[in-house]
């Protein structure tokens, strides 16, 4: 069996959900799973990653490396050279993509983006054609094989393992790496549960007709309580809501108990991001829209009347 590394994303001593998903997948295909964590906080992850099956935690405790995909890639390439892992798994996030892409240039090894699972250190699985086909891809040639796995493709499960052994590494980095600099960070999400954890996701599409209609969805979300509002790319591209709302191939993957879509046609690229929802409700003028056909309940009608009526009904039931 193989040696597999997982590049961690974390906050404080908590590994991200995507990291735990990767660890769950890694321990099924590897005899030894190591986690690589960048930044001084990384050492604190030993217990968190150990309980998902990692036996070793490589902590690269240099904070200058945190915002630098170039330095991270260089450090990983050097470590991979000396340790020889068979595969390195990344969450397919913004940072993950940057670092993995650069790492590939340095290692010259194969890379699979947007995997949805790993079969071994030499094979991964993904969905293509809007999630209608599953493909098993053999990863060939020299190692480490680099695999980016889309968050929420795998269900994380703890292994009850003990804390991982910590190895502190001070990487030798090439001098004079130029990078972009972050001058300010802005948050655009609003109050309420996040799309990742909400029990109910209400998504709005072009059929809403404009940004004002999203207020209607917010109102429904607050009537339900514990609901988050998302959107299609059409709504995001139109500037109605920020990108953080986007669900689908280039946005988030959500798996709520109920997915309620308003004025969403159900393009393949949207469906890949929500089709694992437990129950799907669609409201659309057009009964032929693809999402109507895959919904547990499709309601033919105008969002402008159906959504407020639903909000009222939920409030009425809550009040009685």
């Amino acid at each position: 069996m193989a040696t597999v590394w997982v590049v961690a994303e974390f906050e404080g001593s908590e590994a991200s959900g995507a990291t735990l998903e990767l660890l769950t997948a890694a321990r099924q295909i590897a005899e030894s799973v190591s986690v690589v964590a960048f930044g001084s906080g990384g050492e604190g992850l030993a217990a968190a990653v150990g309980s998902y099956g990692a036996t070793r935690l490589v902590a690269i405790g240099d904070d200058t490396i945190v915002g630098s995909p170039r330095a991270q890639a260089a450090a990983l390439a050097a470590l991979a050279k000396s340790h020889g892992p068979d595969a390195i798994l990344f969450p397919a996030s913004y940072e993950g993509r940057d670092v993995a892409g650069r790492l590939q240039a340095l290692t010259g090894t194969t890379l699979m983006g947007n995997a949805m699972g790993v079969i071994s250190a030499d094979a991964a699985r993904t969905e293509i054609l809007g999630g209608t086909q599953m493909v098993d891809v053999a990863l060939e040639g020299p190692t480490p094989h680099i695999v980016l796995v889309k968050p929420r493709s795998i269900e994380a499960a703890s292994s009850e393992g003990g804390a991982a052994d910590v190895e502190r590494v001070v990487p030798e980095l090439p001098a004079g790496l130029r990078d972009a600099t972050v001058v300010a960070r802005h948050e655009e999400t609003h109050a309420g549960p996040s799309l990742d954890t909400a029990q109910v996701v209400i998504s709005g599409g072009r059929g809403l007709g404009g940004p004002e209609a999203f207020a209607m969805l917010d109102d429904l979300a607050s009537a339900i309580g514990g609901a988050a509002v998302g959107a299609t790319r059409a709504a995001v591209d139109a500037g109605w809501v920020p990108y953080a709302y986007q669900i689908g191939q280039t946005g988030k993957t959500v798996t709520p108990e109920v997915y309620l879509a308003a004025g969403v046609s159900g393009a393949l690229q949207h469906i890949v991001g929500m089709k694992k929802s437990k129950r799907i409700v669609a409201i659309n003028k057009d009964p032929e829209a693809p999402l109507m056909k895959m919904a547990d309940l499709g309601v033919i009608g105008d969002v402008a009347t159906v959504v407020p009526a639903l909000t009222e009904e939920i409030r009425r039931r809550a009040g009685s």
Partner: protein
Amino acid sequence: MDVVVFAKWVPLGTPELGEDRRLVRGRDDGLDAADEFGIELALQLTERDGGEVTVVTMGPEGAAAAIQRALAMGAHRGVLVTDDALAGADALATARVLAAAARRQPFDLVIGGVESSDGYTGTVPSTVAELLDLPSVTFARRVDVADGEIRAERQTAVGYDEVTCALPALVTLTAGATEPRYPSVKGIMQAKSKPLDRLGLADLGLAAGDLAPSQSVRAVEPAPEKPGGEIVEAGEDAIARIADLLAEAKVI
């Protein structure tokens, strides 16, 4: 300021798999809409500050049409890398080719899409940046350049970051970052006389061995299909049905 833009030739419309388990090409192909945002940005920057826009495409001969469209929008020159050895090229091979093609002319800025519409690997530009020893700003949704420096808004999971980066550098643009123009009739006429270099691997100093595919499809099977449910007309009954479903799911 000189700009190199990567633009891909992709199947438009609903993608299909062929017998060889590759995407069917050549039926209804065109310039990837994901790359038009970058072409537009390059045109705006060079129209304001001077310099040239070179559009680079790796693809079959038919992909020249993607470059023609970019030239008709206003790009100055095109480079089409086409070689039999590139059929089935993977992410690394693509990045090596694009990097080699970019190196052939001076540039201040290299632009790519966040991800292609057919492959959506989403890592090719980062790999190119590393091969070219460039810093990068990926997932940019707004970009300006002043005094030799990029100022950009980069999308993040929770919002966006304001980022600066000295040139030369590479950026990838998200959809909607710019409003791509339509080629004018004059533009389409002028495009015909603009330079379009056709290069093979040898012209780029690359050997087929550098580009051997490192992935193969082992199996393809249809994903489990979700059976549809019921479709009802809007009305009081439909509203009650949705509320019942929410109650069954124990979320209200």
